[in-house]
Each structure stands twice: as C-alpha cells, then as structure tokens.
C-alpha cells in the first residue's frame, strides 16, 4: 500500500517536473531562437571541411557564411574540386566566379647533389630544430634544409621530398593555403598565382664565386636576367634577382636563357625549364660533407 503510493507520487512528481522543464525549453527555444540561413549548412556540407585557410577565412564555416551573403564566389575555395564548387554555385544560384589558381613555390633548388654540406647535423629531426643549431649542416645559410617540415605541415599531402632532399609541390593537390609558408624556418615558400611563371629559385645573398661555392645552382648576381628582361622588371637587390610581378605579363622565357647557373627558371605546367646556358647538373648522388 505504502510502496505503491510512494511509486505513484514519485512518478507523478517526476512527470510533472519533466513536463514543466519541457515547457520551459519550448519557451526558451522560441524566445532565444536565432535564425540561420539553412543554406549556410547546406553549403558548408559541400565544402571540403579542411579548414585550411586558403580562402583567407578562419575556416569553412566562415567561408560558407560569406558565400551565402555573396561576399565570396565559390571558386575562391581552392581546396574543393571544380565539380563541388559548381554544385555550390548552382545551389546558391550564383556564378562560379573566376579564381586564379595559386601555388606554393620554393625559392631554392639546392638539393644535396648540388649544394655543399659543411657539417653533419645530428639531433632532433626537423628543419626548425636544425636551423636553431648553427643553421644545420648546409653550407648555404639561406637554402632548404631538406628535413621535410613543409611536407609534414601540408594538409593536402601536396609536398613530397625528392631523391635529393628537396620538397616538390604537386600542383594538382596544392591549394595555396600557406601552411608550408609558416612551417619553413627559412621562409623559402611563398604563394604565387599559377601564371607567375618566371621564378628565382634561390635566396643566396652571396655574390659571384662565393655564391657558387655554396651551391652549384645559386644565383651569383651576374645580372644577365635583369639585362635581358624588359626594363625595370627584374632588379638586383642584395645580390639576388627579384622579379616585379606587377609587370608579369611582359616576361618571357627568354629571360632565363643566359643564366649560367640555372637559378632563374620558367615554370610551366609542373615542369621546370632552365635556360640554354645553364650548366647541366649531371651529379646524381649527394655531395660529401666538406670540412
């Protein structure tokens, strides 16, 4: 008798409490309701969810919001496939927009078969770790250390290390998000539009023989490319050729022709074209450590 009363009263009380809280929740949901455009979620689901930042937004959600508001065009997401971006465009009923493909470019061509090592680095694996310890073992203190910090940082698996210890960017996979730019302790990566085809693959600030003593493919500041280019497009700053990309359309492949070391190159469809005068690098194996 007592037991059934207890059970009944408890059940009724709990049911009443549940009902009361449910009413409260319903009221709260009504009062505190924030309208969110359902298209945002729809668009977000079509984005790659990589949160890579290549669009300049902190993540895919922010980009989706911008898309719905019309601030961006779908093609600004470089990580997405063209089909998916087309789907977003048709969902939102907007144009795809034109977006130049941007790529990460490495300003070094000094693999271990052309660049000299002056010491053996033993210790924590990684470019930044090696750079702290007397700049690693590489003779060129500006060049790529070849310990794959960029490759590890890449979200899209677009950077692989070649046989000579240099990172190679897969142009298909690269979205230009800039993670490798942050990862490289020597600041060798930068993001460039695909049509910046002329490229100085060197950061060595030495002049002449001193530069070539570090690396066979270093820019030795001979100024031939600057002379061959239209006036004012290539300047020599601190013994290094620098290209003014605002005049990019004036540049032709001829600029690279007389470069003796092949430091200035013409990049086209994933291929590296050196000038005719560039010495052929025949060495395949790594250079010994010079003492």
């Amino acid at each position: 008798m007592d037991a059934s009363l207890t059970i009944t009263s408890a059940t009724v009380f709990m049911a009443a409490l549940g009902g009361l809280l449910a009413v409260l929740l319903v009221l709260a949901n009504k009062r505190l309701y924030v309208y969110e455009d359902p298209r945002i979620e729809e668009v977000e689901n079509l984005l790659p969810s990589a949160n890579c930042g290549a669009c300049g937004q902190p993540g895919c959600k922010a980009f989706a919001e911008g898309l719905v508001e019309g601030k961006f065009s779908p093609s600004q997401c470089t990580a997405n496939s063209a089909d998916m971006n087309g789907l977003i465009a048709s969902t939102l009923g907007v144009g795809l927009g034109a977006q130049e493909k941007k790529l990460a470019r490495l300003a070094c061509a000094g693999g271990n078969h052309v660049a000299w090592q002056r010491a053996r680095y033993k210790g924590l694996d990684g470019c930044r770790a090696a750079d702290i310890v007397a700049g690693g073992g590489k003779g060129c203190s500006w060049g790529c250390l070849g310990m794959a910090d960029c490759s590890h940082a890449c979200t899209f698996d677009a950077i692989s290390m070649d046989d000579n210890g240099l990172p190679v960017v897969d142009e298909e996979k690269c979205t230009g998000c800039g993670d490798c730019v942050t990862a490289c302790p020597r600041g060798l990566f930068s993001i460039h539009p695909e049509n910046h085809k002329l490229w100085v693959a060197c950061k060595n600030l030495e002049h002449g023989e001193a530069a070539e003593a570090d690396c066979d493919v270093a820019c030795n500041a001979c100024t031939r490319c600057a002379a061959d280019a239209p006036a004012g497009v290539i300047a020599m700053t601190n013994n290094l050729a620098t290209i003014d990309y605002s005049k990019n359309d004036k540049l032709t492949r001829q600029v690279t022709d007389r470069c003796p070391t092949g430091a200035i190159v013409w990049l086209d469809k994933g291929k590296v074209h050196k000038g005719e005068a560039a010495r052929k690098v025949l060495r395949k194996d790594a250079l010994p450590v010079a003492r």
Binding site: R118, A119, Y121, K122, G123, L124, G126, R128, A129, D131, I132, V133, A134, G135, G136, G137, S141, W142, G178, V181, T182, P185, L205, E206, A210, R291
Partner: protein, 459 residues
C-alpha cells in the same frame, strides 16, 4: 630573509641557493689555474656588424682606410645596439663582406688587414673624469665603449644601466657564478681584474641608482671570493655597500633569476625582468670592462675566452682580440685537426657550430673542442619514450613541466604551451634534457616550439 625561515627549511631553498637545478661534471680543473694570456694578432681580423643583440652596427670606415687600434669603425645602429672598435692597427679591406656567424647565418662584416710591423699600442683613447659626468653621459660613454654582456648574451650593457621608466633599481648584482662546466674566464677575471670590477660596479651603481651591490660567486671559487673581498676592503673599507657572497654550486646558478633568488630570496615575476623587483644583474667580466674602458675613454677590442675540452692540448684562458678567426685561436691552443664537435660557450647552453670558419665575437665566452671519439654513439643517444619519471620536472629551475612541453611541442601545440604551460618562462638552461633518462631532446623541442610560436604569431 626572516629569521624564522632559517634552519630546516633552508634545505628547500632560502639564502645562498635556489631550488632544483643539476650538478654536471665541472671539468674546470683544466683551465682554472691558468692565468690569462694574450694571443698574437692574426693577419686578418673579421668583425661581424651584428655581434650583439639588437640593431647591427653601421660601418663608419671605408674600404682602404687605415685604422689604429681602438678606433671606432662602426657606430651603434640604434639605442639597443653597440659600436665596434678596430681590434688592430691596420687597413680596412672590406666593409660588407658576408661571413659565417656563430648562429649559422651569414652576415656582413668589416675585414681589417693587420699591419705586421705595428706595435699595436692602443693610441685611440681619451681619459675622462667619471666623477664629473652625469648619469646620461656615463650611459652614453658605456655605449660608446661598445660594451655588451660578456657572459654570453651580448646584450648591449648600457640599456640595463638605467632603471626603466616607473621602476627602481636598488640592488646591483655582479654575476660571477660561471655555472657552466669547463668555462673559467669569469673566474680568472675575478682573480686578476677585481679592482677594475669594483670600479665598474661604482659606475653602474651611479647610473642605476642602486644603493648596494652584491657579487655572487659559486662556492667552488672561494679563492675568487676572498680576492674580491680583499679588493673591496682596499677600495672602500670594511663596511662597504659592496659585498661578495658565496652561493651554492649548482647549475644554472648563473642565470639571473636563479642568482637573485639565491642572494636575496626574491623571485622575478613570470614574464618580468629583474628591474621589476629592483635588481640589475651584470656579468663580472662586463663590469671589469666598464671599469677599465670608461675612465680611459677606450672601446672594447678584446675579451677573455676559455679554450678547453678534451680535444685541446694547451687549454687556457686567452685574451683574444675581437675578430680573431676561430681556426687561429684553436691552432694556438693546440686543438686537434679534425674535431667531432666544436661548441661556442659552455656545454649546457652553448651551441655547436657547423663550421669553425667564424670569427670570435664579443659574446663568445668559451670554445670547447671534442674529438670524434668523445661524442656519444647513436645508440647512446637513441630517443626512447617518456617514462613519466619526473626527473625533468625536478631539475627545472623555473618549475615548469618540460615533459609536458616536449610532448606538446612534438604535436605542434605551441599556443597551448604558451598559454597553459608557461613556454616563455623557459630560458633554455638544458637541465631537463640533461637529466632525461630517455634521451628526449626536451630543450631542443622547447626551442622549436618558441620559434614556431613566434612564426605563427607573426602571420
């Protein structure tokens, strides 16, 4: 320190010591009894423009110009910067040649070819009356002398000589701990240049407004303590405002935060500087140079470098002209031809160099040479997983958790390290990596994290 805290509690800290730290093998017997000896002038001196922290110096000489020893050849590039002086009488052959620097980068340097027949007297000096100088004039005089922190940091000394705005300096601390193994240059300076050091302390007390000065010396150098006390007694009587105290021999006693804790039982707040608690810490070698150079109006042209290690047949404390190429110094000290590792500074905090083709700069306290056979084998150095033994936690003088920092660093979680685990309080003394039984390169991981964190904040 209050009386009640003495006794039993002193085991855990209190005067004369700090908590945690380690006791590495000292190896100081190799050079501590060797008097300072000058090395000959090399035929070509290399003076990097960036020998100090802060802005690089700007050359004021041109190629082909003749300079006399002690003459300014580069002016300070800003307030946090120091000028350079010609270490030899000779001819400038280049003002912007790129030379390898100790940190592995290349930087511009002035090259001077020594005149072989010169007597190398210091002709460029102007005696000044330091008593008649105002504080600002004195600070300027120290900058003009090109004095930087000679304990290894090479931070321009004049910047620390006046209390920052809104802060008061009451105590000047002379740092004569030299806790790094092998190094003995400060020990010899305290023995041989104690009078100059006292003079330097007086000058710095004048500008900083400090009312007392304490020289802290580790108790493995009691001869230096006695020598300094004698010098103080001779200079200013028994009840001087300058005192010399022995502190426990324990690495890293020579870190300024540890030394302040040992001498005054005060703690520098996290992220703060010693001036926050009224202290200013100067290396004894720096003070000796101030005392020697400023009254004579001269510039810093040489420093004392300990050359030691198992790969040196003639170890010693050498008076080295700034700009002397390292190979020449090593040859003079009888270093082996094919060293396995050359370290600039002490073995704990110093960095191995990738090439000996560098010049001695103002910040080099010592050069240690090890042969190939002395290096640990790869098996000995093999990194194993952390076993949570908390040896690093008990060694860390800053009371950080190096094990956790290391793990976070391996996973690139730099922001968390900075916000939750006080990454920037670490001053990279190396105790954690030294005691780690699993050979985890904790200090290196922390340094990588600092670099990565800075880079991310920049973007």
């Amino acid at each position: 320190m209050k009386k009640s805290q003495k006794g039993f509690l002193q085991m855990f800290g209190g005067k004369g010591r700090f908590r945690h730290g380690i006791h590495p093998e000292e190896h100081k017997e190799l050079t501590e009894h060797k008097a300072i000896r000058r090395i000959p002038f090399y035929k070509e001196m290399v003076l990097p423009l960036s020998q100090h922290r802060g802005a690089p110096a700007k050359p004021i000489v041109v190629k082909g110009q003749d300079v006399v020893r002690g003459e300014p050849i580069a002016e300070a590039g800003g307030f946090v910067s120091a000028p350079l002086h010609a270490p030899v009488t000779g001819t400038v052959v280049a003002v912007d040649r790129l030379v390898p620097m100790p940190d592995g980068k290349k930087g511009p340097a002035i090259i001077i070819r020594t005149w072989p027949s010169s007597t190398q007297e210091i002709l460029y000096s102007k005696t000044v009356d330091t008593d008649a100088m105002s504080d600002d004039e004195l600070v300027q005089a120290v900058q003009n002398a090109g004095v930087v922190g000679l304990g290894g940091a090479a931070f321009p000394t004049h910047v620390k000589m006046k209390a920052p705005k809104g802060k008061n300096i009451t105590t000047l601390i002379g740092n004569g701990c030299e806790c790094e193994p092998f190094l003995t240059c400060d020990h010899r300076i305290m023995l041989e240049y104690a009078e100059n050091m006292i003079k330097g302390i007086r000058l710095v007390m004048q500008t900083s407004g400090a009312t007392k000065a304490i020289i802290g010396v580790e108790d493995n150098k009691m001869d230096a303590v006695h020598r300094i006390r004698e010098a103080i007694a001779t200079a200013s009587g028994d009840n001087s405002d300058i005192t010399c105290e022995a502190v426990a021999t324990c690495y890293p006693q020579g870190a300024e935060k540890m030394l302040i804790k040992s001498l005054l039982d005060l703690e520098v707040p996290s992220g703060g500087i010693p001036a926050d608690i009224g202290c200013a810490v100067f290396n004894v070698g720096t003070l000796a140079q101030i005392g020697e150079l400023v009254p004579e109006g001269r510039g810093l042209v040489e420093r004392i470098v300990t050359v030691s290690g198992p790969g040196v047949s003639n170890p010693g404390n050498y008076l080295v002209p700034v700009g002397t190429p390292l190979p020449y110094l090593l040859k003079h000290a009888g270093a082996i031809e094919d060293p396995g590792m050359v370290i600039l500074g002490g073995p704990m905090m110093g960095a191995a160099v990738a090439t000996t083709d560098i010049a001695c700069t103002k910040g080099i306290t010592g050069v240690l040479v090890f042969g190939q056979e002395e290096l640990p084998s790869p098996e000995e150095q093999e990194e194993m997983p952390c076993i949570n033994c908390r040896a690093c936690v008990e060694a860390c003088p800053m009371f950080l958790n190096p094990s956790m920092l290391g793990r976070l660093s391996q996973n690139d979680r730099y922001e968390e390290m900075a916000s939750r685990f006080n990454l920037w309080d670490c001053f990279e003394c190396g105790c954690c990596a030294n005691v780690c039984p699993s050979n985890i390169p904790l200090t290196q991981l922390i340094r990588v994290a600092k670099g990565g964190h800075m880079q991310r904040n920049k973007d």
